[in-house]
Amino acid sequence: MKSNLIRHIAVALDCSPHSIASLAAAAELARWMHADLRGIFVEDINLLRMAELPCSHEIRIYTAEAEKMELLPLERSLKRQAREAESALQRIAEELMVEHSFRVYRGLVPAEVILAAHEADLLVLGRSGRSPSCRKGLGSTARKALAEGKRPLLLMRTGFTAKEWPVLVLYDGSKGSQQALATALDLAQPGITLNILILGETPEEALVMEQELSSTITLPDTVIEYHHLPLHDGKTLARYIRLADSGLLVLSDRMKLPVETVHNLINEIDYPVLLV
């Protein structure tokens, strides 16, 4: 059932903790799937414009002092960040012997990232970037990628790695969920536990789906566990996922669940998500 269709992985880098976790996960996946790794760094045009405005001041985090923003120091600072991002990419790619490239773009970050990842088979992003309010939900780039339908999309967060992670797949028999399962199987490294959460209308239907799956999935060295959940509302699902605490969540927004429910679920749970 392995499709192995992922050949190019794009990863957005902004030196935030989530983006560093994204880079590590992307590199690990690239190694496992023999894909190449493309680093994307976007110089935020908003920042550059701001530096040219007469009224703009930067308030320093650790001193709370305000200083007039200047374009040149800002550009230098962005270039430094880009260099750091590139060297981080280079380091991990060489360590894992993954083919890699790195490009710097300038523009509005969400749009540029989506554009730059256009040709990639998988886009890896941090759940949130360097957001001002340290929000829990998704950042602007993640929201845009979700909204614009870039698939597959991996939203990473700190505290998780792609190496030997447990995987939880949402399966309801829909084409989207079948594709999610196929991708999860692609990602399933030997020795991991693959949890399949079957969302059936009735227990009987869920059981039938489980039987079908168990007869078709043969993956040596992988433990597959089936779970059933009859309810379809997002809140119950979110609660279940938190309780299961099983790492990467693989799902599709072309399931029987409404797209909004899926997107709200992704926004709400604080786990890495692979949206297929």
């Binding site: 920042l47 701001m50 405005l53 340290c134």
Partner: protein, 807 residues
């Protein structure tokens, strides 16, 4: 004057009759040895061991090999087991000041059990603490606290962001902080567009941004405070969780040791420390394994995350002891006495902790007895001072020598001193004792009791039986063949010979022990069931032969006349003296020629040995005594108009001792009187100014030395030795000498006065003063007076003619 008779064979040797022993062999004896003949020393030991007051330590003095140590050990073996078993001592971490480890006193056996309990506790903590901190309850609480902070921060900034957005102002994250900018259609206004705005609009935006900026600054100023509060809350939570996990385990331990105040206090401190350092127990299991082999003290010193800090270093473990300890420290170096603080090298740096504190002999002997060889103690740098300090302060304070002398400059410890209650027994030679008494004022304060061991034992039944028991105990201890009573008797006789006195037995038990082993070796070679007298004799002879190379060389040189010793003719002013040589501990005697020549002079006796600085002071004193004797005897009525010179012929290595002074006097008398001396005699003995012959040492070896030479040349029947009569008691001669005496081939003359001696040597009476104050003219003295008169006359004539010539 009646001449002394030759000594009979019975006088030359005191035999020990085997029939005096009631046993057949030493196997019948129980091997238990009492310190016979050492009653004075045993009394001193009993007194010293009995008195528990400061300073009543013991110095056992006496020559090496006299059984000082074994006597004391036997004594202590009787009393030590009945004394109370001393406490265990442990060093534990001082959590407040790790440089000063604490000493814990526990009842015997409790130290090791506390150590085990602590190891189990740490193992348990590695299970309990991670379990507590991985519990859902803890995770949820910690997450709540962190999220509260995030929310607090996020909400404040979020509200500000919302307010900004309402006014078309964007809050943007910059590389180093935050910034506000006017916004249009979700993007920051381009600068050129901004410049196209009216001044009022720009001012309004400016004003709005300034307000927002101020608000943001005030939020950012709050963040450190929120962070601190969050950290405090997390710390408090951690403390509560750790405390909840740890307390039951430590409470269990506290119950086990509730009667021991020091331990419970330590456990309280430990509990607090574990709670404060709970995070160290959350590290990987592999780290834990590294820690227990004791290889991570650096972490302990650098901030207290090592689990060594919870170990118990059992310095003194009396779990298997019964009674008071008796410790003999063979190498009394300072660190072996008071203990040491070892260091280990980590990354090129020397580090230590309380687990590297090493016990010393004082720790082991605390509450009991410590035996130390005094000479070895004094030879170890600073060891004696360290011992005295411990005894004076009654505490064992471990100090690193390297630190004291700045040989290393690294982190070290000051362990809490341990109270000391010990009896120290120094074993040493008498000279050491006397030197210490004179030169060290502390010594007499700290070693108030001296046990003076005898060098000799009386040859009575108890003494002989003591030897038998000694032999029995050696045989039993070393698994040797037992001695029959004949062999024991022979050992007793040899004991007399070693002591140099037929009425004494040597107390140098090491020599007896050696003889026992050697005799047993020959008995084994001969496949005898028991060691017999002939085996003992074989061992004695073999030992003599083994050490005889130099003696044989000298005798060979004498027989070849390279060393001139006349044993047959008569000579004026020439006599055979007897000297003792002691190379390598084996003594032997050999004759040496002494000659005297006289000439006109002023009455002085020139000791050529002294003139060339080859004579020792005692020898010189002996020669000066001769001047005194000659002056008193012959210089009363006329001046002594002679100068006499005395020399030990062919002596190349110096002369010491006065045992030849009578010999020199005989040579002088012969030279002055002109009476020849029979060279078949050899003479030994010192003399006083009255001509009385006094005792000397090594009489047996001296007689045997002359006998051996005479025997080699052939015994004539005339040959013999003149010895001081007071040395007759010392005679324990070899059997071949005794046999020759018995057969009339050799003789030993006991002499009390030189007048007896000169008559034996010359065959001419010495002569006594008659009523008119003159000696008989044909006596030695008469001839000497006549000769001296002639010399005085010649000197007078010579002086007169010289005076006339000058006129």
């Amino acid at each position: 004057m009646a001449l002394p008779a030759k000594l009979t064979p019975e006088k030359l040797y005191r035999t020990c009759n085997p029939q005096e022993f009631s046993f057949e062999t030493t196997a019948e004896l129980d091997g238990h040895v009492n310190a016979t003949g050492q009653e004075r020393a045993i009394d001193a030991i009993t007194f010293s061991m009995g008195i528990r007051h400061d300073g009543f330590n013991l110095f056992a003095l006496g020559p090496n090999g006299t059984g000082k140590q074994s006597s004391i050990m036997h004594f202590l073996a009787d009393i030590a087991p009945n004394a109370p078993t001393p406490s265990d001592w442990c060093y534990v971490n001082n959590f407040e000041n790790p440089r000063k480890p604490k000493a814990l006193k526990l009842p015997a056996g409790k130290g090791s059990s506390l150590s085990r309990d602590m190891e189990h506790l740490v193992e348990a903590l590695f299970t309990v603490i991670p379990a507590a901190f991985s519990s859902e309850e803890y995770q949820a609480q910690e997450k709540d606290i962190r999220e509260t902070f995030q929310e607090q921060q996020g909400e404040s900034i979020g509200e500000l962001e919302k307010k900004a957005v309402e006014n078309n102002i964007a809050l943007i994250r910059t590389p180093a902080g935050f910034a506000f900018a006017p916004m249009k259609n979700g993007e920051v206004v381009k600068p050129e567009e901004f410049m196209l705005l009216k001044q009022e609009e720009r001012d309004a935006i400016d004003e709005e941004i300034t307000t927002l900026k101020t608000a943001m600054q005030s939020i950012l100023a709050q963040i450190p405070k929120w962070q601190r509060e969050t950290q405090e809350k997390i710390k408090e939570l951690n403390r509560n969780i750790a405390s909840f996990a740890v307390k039951p385990l430590i409470a269990e331990l506290r119950n086990s040791y509730e009667s021991l105040q020091e331990v419970t206090t330590y456990l309280d401190a430990l509990e607090n420390d574990v709670i404060e350092n709970f995070d160290k127990f959350l590290e990987k299991e592999s780290d834990q394994r590294e820690l227990f082999p004791g290889m991570a003290p650096d972490r302990f010193l650098q901030g207290g995350s090592s689990f060594n800090r919870y170990r118990v270093n059992v310095i003194v473990d009396n779990s298997k002891s019964e009674g008071a300890p008796v410790v003999y420290e063979d190498k009394p170096a300072c660190y072996n006495l008071v203990g040491d603080i070892e260091h280990i090298s980590q990354m090129g740096t020397l580090v230590t902790d309380f687990t590297l504190i090493k016990q010393g002999a004082l720790h082991r002997a605390n509450g009991g007895y410590l035996l130390i060889d005094a000479r070895r103690l004094l030879m170890e740098p600073l060891a004696y001072e360290a011992l005295k300090k411990a005894l004076r302060t009654r505490h064992i304070r471990i100090e690193s020598l390297a630190q004291l002398y700045s040989l290393v400059s690294t982190v070290s410890l000051e362990p809490e001193p341990i109270p000391l209650d010990v009896k120290v027994i120094l074993l040493g030679e008498r000279s050491l004792y006397y030197l210490l008494t004179v030169y060290d004022p502390d010594f007499t304060e700290l070693f108030k009791v001296a046990a003076d061991f005898e060098d000799e034992l009386p040859v009575d039944n108890a003494g002989k039986l003591f030897y038998a028991y000694i032999i029995s105990s050696i045989a039993k201890k070393d698994g040797l063949r037992h001695f029959d009573r004949g062999a024991v008797a022979r050992v007793v006789e040899h004991g007399c010979r070693i002591s140099g006195d037929s009425t004494k037995l040597t107390a140098h038990l090491q020599s007896i022990c050696d003889l026992v082993h050697e005799a047993e070796y020959y008995a084994t070679s001969e496949k005898r069931e028991h060691v017999e007298a002939r085996d003992v004799q074989h061992a004695i002879d073999a030992k003599t032969v083994r050490a005889s190379r130099i003696r044989e060389k000298i005798r060979e040189a004498t027989l070849k006349n390279a060393i001139l010793i006349d044993t047959a003719s008569e000579k004026i002013g020439q006599i055979n003296g007897l000297a003792i040589y002691s190379p390598g501990g084996q003594s032997f005697g050999h004759p040496g020629r002494i000659t005297a020549r006289v000439r006109l002079g002023k009455g002085e006796v020139i000791d050529i040995e002294r003139e060339v600085e080859m004579g020792g002071p005692i020898h010189s004193k002996g020669v000066m005594i001769l001047s005194g004797f000659l002056g008193a005897r012959f210089g009363i009525n006329q001046p002594l108009s002679l100068t006499a010179s005395l020399v030990f012929e062919q002596s190349y290595s110096g002369v010491e001792g006065d045992s030849a002074s009578s010999t020199e006097l005989y040579a002088l008398l012969s030279a002055i009187s002109g009476a020849p001396i029979g060279q078949w005699f050899a003479v030994t003995g010192s003399v006083n100014q009255f001509g009385e012959v006094q005792a000397i040492g090594g009489v047996n070896e001296k007689i045997e030395g002359f006998f051996d030479l005479c025997q080699a040349r052939g015994l004539s029947g005339k040959q013999g030795v003149l010895i001081p009569a007071s040395n007759v008691e010392n005679l324990m001669l070899r059997s071949d000498v005794i046999e020759a005496v018995r057969n009339g081939l050799f003789a030993v003359f006991p002499v009390t006065h030189v007048d007896e001696g000169i008559e034996i040597l010359t065959g001419i009476p010495a002569g006594e003063l008659d009523s008119s104050g003159n000696y008989p003219p044909d006596s030695i003295n008469g001839m000497a007076v006549a000769r001296l008169g002639e010399m005085a006359e010649k000197l007078k004539q010579f002086s007169e003619s010289s005076s006339e010539d000058e006129e």
